[in-house]
Point group: C2
Chain length 344, copies 2
Amino acid sequence: MGILSARQIKVLQAVIGAYIHSGEPVGSRTLSRSSAFQLSPATLRNVMADLEDEGFLCQPHTSAGRIPTDQGFRFYVNNLAGMAAVSPAARLHVREHLEVVGGRLEEVLRDGVLTLAQLTPYVGIVSLPDFRQMIIRHIRFVKLHERRILAVVVSVSGAVQNVLFDSDTNLTQDQLNHSSNYLNALLGDLTLSGIKRKVLQEMASDKRGYDELFKQVLALSKSFFAKDPEQQSDVMLDGKLNLLEHPEFADVERMKNIFRAFEEKGSILKILDGALSGEQLRVIIGSESCCEDMRHCSLVTAEYGREDRTLGQIGVIGPTRMDYSRIIPLVNYIADAMSRRLQN
Amino acid sequence: MGILSARQIKVLQAVIGAYIHSGEPVGSRTLSRSSAFQLSPATLRNVMADLEDEGFLCQPHTSAGRIPTDQGFRFYVNNLAGMAAVSPAARLHVREHLEVVGGRLEEVLRDGVLTLAQLTPYVGIVSLPDFRQMIIRHIRFVKLHERRILAVVVSVSGAVQNVLFDSDTNLTQDQLNHSSNYLNALLGDLTLSGIKRKVLQEMASDKRGYDELFKQVLALSKSFFAKDPEQQSDVMLDGKLNLLEHPEFADVERMKNIFRAFEEKGSILKILDGALSGEQLRVIIGSESCCEDMRHCSLVTAEYGREDRTLGQIGVIGPTRMDYSRIIPLVNYIADAMSRRLQN
DNA sequence: CGCTGGCACTCAAACTAAAAGAGTGCTAAC
DNA sequence: GTTAGCACTCTTTTAGTTTGAGTGCCAGCG
């Protein structure tokens, strides 16, 4: 596992390039013919054998060409892949479909993931922000029926969450309105749990005395916060059909695995959140995801959010044989466009 | 195309039963051996040839056994399929997962479709009610930002819809509350469009004079109703993976077609709404759906709703070779359970 | 020492041939 | 009306063969 020579790198790049293009194992002869090497197949064979020893290439079976390993792709992505500019057509598409005005958070995300599914032959994916980490702008209570109450919680980023709960006492809508007003006056750059804490504090400090309205708000908040908003986090997918077009998924068994992973979104979420370590862009190649079902897939994701605050990840899932040099800039571009739109 | 003799019917039933069981074309010998016929293969061959002439059976190729045509299945479902009782295990599952308390409409539907996906090896499907046809219980306005307003519309059946719109004037939350109260006082067993009409009428009749609040409500309603709630109708699916287990979908091409139909939900919706003609239960077999992609699938759906009012359809999608005598009662049972739960 | 041509070898895929198996249609006889 | 028998069809399976792409290694060359 020494360092790679310049020539080895050049060969590795050529092999991966050819493989990304064709999907077929690439052999020494093809390589010798096609590219800028002035080397004979035999020489290339030697180089490729070395690269295999180092773990960058492998063979599906003796006497087939070489295909890149996950490690090979990793090296390629980190060091070799020249990043293509986002095509004018893609820019136009984004301008028309993504860079429009406002809308609820969920709609913005849907637009983003749809755009990715349309601009790439892969699956668009976006993780919905954890509502519990969002800064709340509004809480309104709506009386539904007797003590049954609907709380409408709106975050600054435009996410709307409806929470259904039962109050201890039977309040009128007017009383609920007053409570809402009271609570909203308290709000300020806090998340749901922050608000909860603040309300508890106020209760403890008792500084407002035993004002009737205050007691009402307290009781209400208690019932409300007892019921944690359920949808803690989620992902949205689009363009699953795109995957069916790739030859590597013609195998039914492999297909099943991936669709299973899609259906139980938990595992994908785990991958996405796996390294929240704050890199703006992440590429997860094959088995790096540690998810058996996704062994043959790569993810390219970028963070989106408002200013300092990261809301979630958006990107694509495709075969490990992915056109990284086109996809990486594109995902970046779209994450930016979405973040800009969320600024409003 | 004469009428079928008793014996022909008995043979048809046996063939379809065997085919549903095995998924393989069934030949005369198998039939003769297995079942209660005292007939030789040769005789059965004659009968089967007749049934083929009548269009109830067909052969994948000369010298294969017979498989039922869509018409054959149709006859079977209409006349032959004995309806099995819903199994105790299924009843228990429904009791535990579906017959629980309340929840928003969407959650109830999700529970229903999930239950179907778990109790059958097919895809659970439910059509969301068209919000525009629902009777509205509440409308509340929430001020988001300047003139940007969120309307929370709640139907009697517990569906909640959030509509984002811009008001012409900049109102305070208190003003919005008053407008909400005013509007809700007007409400009574009306759909959204009914309310819209009523508001317009009030406006025309002018009987309230030029009261300030009234003018406010009018202006607000105008902006609100200008923006039709978008999600006009939709379907929810669950258990797509189940389909992958069936041998008839091992063919990748066929799979692709069906998943395409799933992805663009419009076509499925069209099938579901196709015959809203008010039968409580519907079975759509293969090409009867008039959807090329769904040629190899059957749908079994039942209406669900509250009392007199139908809200939508719930059921399953599976291969035409479906265990109708088990599925039909089950779908019925679950639609009933859901309807009961929605009563509250 | 690095590069190359040559050669033996491996393995998957494609093709061919043959055989097996399931099932049919038809006819003649019961 | 029913059945046994037979010839025929067509798929599936198996085995064997060929082809082609590719490798590894070695010996020789610059």
